[in-house]
Symmetry: none
Subunit: 222 residues, 2 copies
DNA sequence: ATTTATCTTCATGAATTTTTCATTTTAAAG
DNA sequence: CTTTAAAATGAAAAATTCATGAAGATAAAT
């Protein structure tokens, strides 16, 4: 396990490094934003984890993280910062960070969070899901088809999102229903069908983007 | 997306529910620990996310979470608590929670954290069964023969799937029938035979892929 | 209160799948 | 080689499943 620490405060960086090394991790420290950004982009498989300070010389942590995610970097990122307000946290997480820790923090907690993130299956799925010509931003709810915005209603979005989170999997109506609706009994209702119909109407694709699997449900392929 | 909120403070629970529903999530609230524990264990696919209070009547959040994880529940869990000390956080995360939020919190932050966790892809490992030149993917329901896609109807797929789950074993018509059909009386019907026929027609193999065991049933070999 | 947008229900017809059934073919045993 | 039961088959009938338009219901906005 190799961890990259991006932190310009030399002393803090050194402390973290020491502590992590005692725990058996290999640790590199980079103090400058752009250098760190490049390092990860160029060699995507070198590190298993990144601890990223928010305020950095060169380029700030949030921008770096956004850029990584846009470029398909899936390494878990824990954002570190002195700013502890809620809005800051939100920005950090929405930038694609997997977790957020405010300074000052106990080393024990940093460790626990690293453990928690490393425990989960690799690959955080991107903010933006794509299938064929469709892409949806799960945070902003923006949907585009062939780079043109498509306006979807709430239910339509939820149905589409669920299918896009389950690409290449046949999804039953029950599944769709129970994930997008509150009450559990989908039988005797064809609302899902109707929403599928409306989705198809709004996203008219010659390559049928939403396939019907007769007798089972629907499927989208990647 | 459906979220389960386990929180005994009725007012807080209601607030969270309202907020999340406005964001388009379906939300259920359970106020008692054991009930929540059971609910998830029994119906593992119903919810996409759990917000779990640490202090609950019945059974505390940490124990519940540990129990879920021991039983293979992989739903993302965000632990909620009034206790904000570092040690508590560590316990929560080590219990298998994916994130941790101390009360009081801003709704905005809760939302950002939910987004961050939901971004993770579900990892359903598709089950791929292979026999000779045929392979079927039980998740995508894709069937290929000599690497070419074969389109099967529901019953055909179910019959084939059952046989491929029982390679090298002779499967009786009764067995096939009761696995692919709801009611049990296969007598006086040769539907299974017909589906076998159609399967063989769609998958024409010189090496007879589906063997007839006269007087008993059918068999596929690996 | 009224308008507007969204969601759900319902009815219909078309397409596909499933089942039935009569007939032919096959395989084992005498 | 014949007999006989089991299995395969083709085709028609029956049943199911979907897509869809439109109307009714609900919720949100003005």
């Amino acid at each position: 396990m190799k961890i990259l620490v991006v932190e310009d405060n030399t002393k803090l960086a050194e402390n973290i490094k020491q502590g992590l090394m005692q725990e058996g991790y290999a640790v590199d420290v980079i103090e400058e934003g752009l250098a760190a950004e490049r390092r990860i982009l160029i060699n995507r498989d070198e590190y298993d984890f990144v601890i990223l300070d928010r305020m950095l010389p060169g380029k700030d942590g949030v921008s770096i993280c956004v850029n990584w995610r846009e470029n398909g970097v899936v390494i878990p990122v824990l954002m570190l910062t002195a700013l502890g307000t809620t809005d800051d946290k939100v920005v950090g997480l929405d930038a694609g960070a997997d977790d957020y820790l405010a300074k000052p923090f106990a080393f024990k907690e940093l460790l626990a969070r690293i453990h928690a993130l490393l425990r989960r299956p690799k690959q955080t799925s991107p903010l933006i899901l794509t299938s064929g010509n469709i892409s949806i931003n799960t945070t902003s709810r923006l949907v585009t088809y062939k780079d043109k915005p498509v306006s979807l209603t709430l239910k339509e979005f939820m149905v589409l999102e669920y299918m896009m989170r389950n690409l290449n999997k046949v999804v039953t109506r029950d599944e769709l229903y129970s994930h997008a609706w509150d009450f559990a009994d989908s039988s005797f209702s064809n609302t899902v069908d109707v929403h599928i119909k409306n989705l198809r109407k709004k996203i008219k694709d010659n390559a049928k983007i939403i396939q019907t699997i007769r007798g089972v449900g629907y499927k989208m392929e990647s």
